[in-house]
């Protein structure tokens, strides 16, 4: 954000609510639904006040039926509405997998480009509070394999608001992943209306020695690690792709060519995480700019334990990042 922009400090939860309210006021064809999103305001309190503001037709509680929620969203989208469904936990995308993987991104294409599918599906994800193996995952990378879908995964209140507004206005399906531990995190958000384009990464910290590419909560872990490393004279550049599809490889490659050292950090399992694709593209396009092997940190390839004590060990830590960065600098 430019220095002249007037800002306010709010949580990501407040930023998301602002985006929803602004877009629903702007476009009467928007409709929001999901489990307990109405009067109750959502289990993460993301839809508080919307039912009262927009009424029970445009903001409604659904039965516990994820396949129907996403399928209905598709039906609404191809007949003139702009649905914003919520899955209570991102993990439940498994229940609606046919609708998300086989339908949302393909409906337009496989029917000859005759329809538009402006669905924004919100999915709260991430390890938070001992929720266990089916309420803690970060399944976003699965959908990098599903052509036609956009994937947003913001790390700050400002990004969440700007990206969500763009997602809602976009005439394609967008999966909007929100890390639950970020809901309460505060940040500066412009007072004036703004949009953030899909497919534009953000350099969260400028550095010269190593490039750290991180998503969601891990952007903050990476920034903390970078500040610690700076005390040892190591300047890390931290890049947040913000959307995995489209993926802004230009920004990533420019940084890689500058630093020659890359670490990718995400909360989803290392195998097949978004880091796998990003690393492959870096290897394809900038291998000879590298001074060291590409490194990745993800959660281990085992289900997430329910224990609130054990779950912390799945999450990439500041120490892990510092350790790997120092290893990269030995080359």
């Amino acid at each position: 954000m430019g220095t002249a922009v007037k800002v306010k400090t709010i949580t990501m939860r407040e930023a998301i609510i602002e985006a929803l309210v602004e877009e629903m006021e702007r476009d009467p064809s928007t409709v929001l639904f999901g489990e307990d999103v109405g009067k109750f305001g959502g289990i993460n309190a993301i839809t508080k006040g919307l039912y009262e503001k927009f009424g029970g037709q445009r903001v409604f509680d659904t039965p516990i039926a994820e396949t129907t929620i996403v399928g209905a969203a598709l039906g609404m989208a191809i007949t003139g509405l702009r649905p914003i469904p919520e899955l209570q936990f991102g993990d439940f995308v498994g229940i609606a997998f046919d609708e998300v993987f086989n339908k949302l991104g393909k409906w337009r294409y496989m029917h000859g480009g005759q329809m538009e599918v402006p669905v924004t599906l919100r999915l709260p994800v991430g390890i938070a509070g001992g929720a266990g193996p089916e309420h803690s995952q970060s399944p976003q990378a699965l959908f990098m394999h599903a052509p036609g879908i956009h994937i947003a995964i913001p790390s700050t209140p400002a990004d969440a608001k700007g990206l969500l507004k763009t997602a809602i206005r976009d005439n394609n399906a967008v999966l909007f992943f929100e890390h639950k531990l970020l809901y309460g995190m505060k940040g500066d958000v412009p007072e004036e209306e703004y949009l953030i384009p899909l497919g534009k990464a953000d350099v969260k910290r400028v550095g010269t020695d190593v490039t750290i590419i991180a998503t969601a909560l891990q952007v903050h872990t990476a920034l903390n690690a970078a500040n610690t490393l700076a005390k040892d004279g190591i300047e890390a550049e931290v890049i947040d792709p913000r959307t995995l599809a489209p993926l802004d490889m230009d920004t990533i490659l420019a940084s890689v060519r500058k630093t020659g050292r890359v670490l990718i950090v995400h909360e989803e399992p290392k195998t097949g995480g978004c880091g796998a694709e990003i690393a492959a593209q870096i290897a394809e396009k900038a291998l000879f700019d590298l001074h060291a092997p590409i490194k990745r940190i993800g959660s281990p390839d085992v289900p997430i334990a329910q224990s609130i004590y054990l779950e912390q060990f799945y999450r990439p830590s500041e120490n892990q990042i510092i350790e790997v960065v120092k290893e990269l600098l030995e080359y």
Binding site: T68, A73, G75, D98, G105, Y109, G112, N171, N172
Partner: protein, 334 residues
């Protein structure tokens, strides 16, 4: 429990031109199908086709003169019947099967599924059978929220009725009183497994809907006029905001599930009975002639006109070019 729909129908309740129209539409569907199978045998079209022969009355009876262009349908796995009745040009459907740019997908290819014509309310179909149950509650909710009287009709077979989404869909449609008409084309078989082997029902599939508080009935799907009557009532209810209806139309397929299916799992005597005594076109023709609504010659003229129309459509579809290879990169994003 679902009622068995019965009604005394006099041909004189219908205008003669409408009766001839029903006949014409059913013949069009059958001839379309027969010529498509011919194209398969000529090696021009792949064998992934589910023939709708024997059930034309289910589609004509539920669409012709009842549904408007702005009403939505999701067709079933024998869905060319419904696409044709809804008015999708024959050349476009043939074009999808042949993979030429004349097709509704402009060369991507389609047929059993993925042909679409939104201008006529044909919103496409899922390759994963039965997933339309979820989508149709969205189109119906949309019509309701936008304040239109558009009706969404969801076609499916008894096989698709096994899918879990049917129950999610019935729950939503009943709960939100959505303008949906469910039309189950029950031909007794999924592929080889029978309806009885794969469904737990009191007696009929339509009984399930009764459990959701949705009016339901079982009807002889091979009686085109009976279908007209029952569907008109359901569509009227939907338009008046009285919610969904579930209609189980009993029918039988004359051919296997797919072309090449030996179809040896059905009792030959049963199949012959349906072909000889319960063929929807034969029966309707007999009724028209017996009641002297038209002459044999009148109907032969219709047959010939339709035959000509089919040939012309195939010519248009065949003469259109195949797409350029880069067609695959077009139309992914809006």
């Amino acid at each position: 429990m679902a009622e068995i729909y019965q009604k005394e129908i006099k041909l004189s309740d219908y205008r003669k031109e409408d009766l001839i129209k029903f006949y014409r539409e059913m013949v069009k569907i059958r001839k379309f199908d027969e010529h498509l199978i011919r194209l398969m045998h000529e090696g021009k079209v792949s064998g992934f086709y589910h023939s709708g022969i024997g059930s034309e009355s289910v589609s004509v009876g539920s669409i012709t003169n009842i549904l408007r262009d702005e009403d939505y349908i999701f067709y079933n796995h024998r869905g060319c019947n419904q696409k044709i009745a809804k008015g999708v040009p024959l050349s476009k459907i043939y074009g999808d099967f042949l993979g030429t740019v004349e097709g509704t997908t402009r060369g991507l290819g389609a047929g059993i599924v993925h042909s679409a014509d939104p201008s006529r309310g044909v919103l496409g179909q899922c390759g994963t059978i039965g997933s339309q149950f979820n989508i149709v509650v969205g189109t119906a909710y949309s019509a309701k929220l936008r304040g239109t009287d558009q009706v969404s009709v969801c076609y499916f077979g008894d096989g698709a009725a096994s899918r879990e989404p049917l129950h999610g869909s019935l729950n939503w449609a009943g709960l939100y009183k959505l303008p949906v008409v469910y039309i189950c084309e029950n031909n007794g078989y999924a592929i080889s497994s029978t309806f009885e082997e794969t469904h737990s029902v009191r007696e009929h599939l339509a009984d399930w809907a009764w459990g959701y508080g949705i009016p339901s009935c079982v009807v002889d799907g091979n009686d085109v006029l009976l279908m007209q009557e029952v569907v008109k009532e359901a569509v009227e209810r939907a338009k008046l905001g009285e919610g969904p209806t579930f209609i189980e139309a009993q029918t039988f397929r004359h051919r296997g599930h797919f072309e090449g299916d030996a179809y040896d799992y059905v009792d030959k005597a049963v199949l012959n009975d349906w072909k000889e005594n319960r063929d929807p076109i034969k029966s309707f023709k007999k009724k028209l002639l017996e009641n002297q609504y038209c002459t044999e010659n009148d109907l032969l003229n219709v047959d010939e006109e339709v035959e000509y129309e089919i040939h012309a459509a195939i010519k248009v579809a065949e003469n259109a070019p195949l797409p350029e290879p880069n067609r695959i990169f077009e139309g992914l994003y809006a």
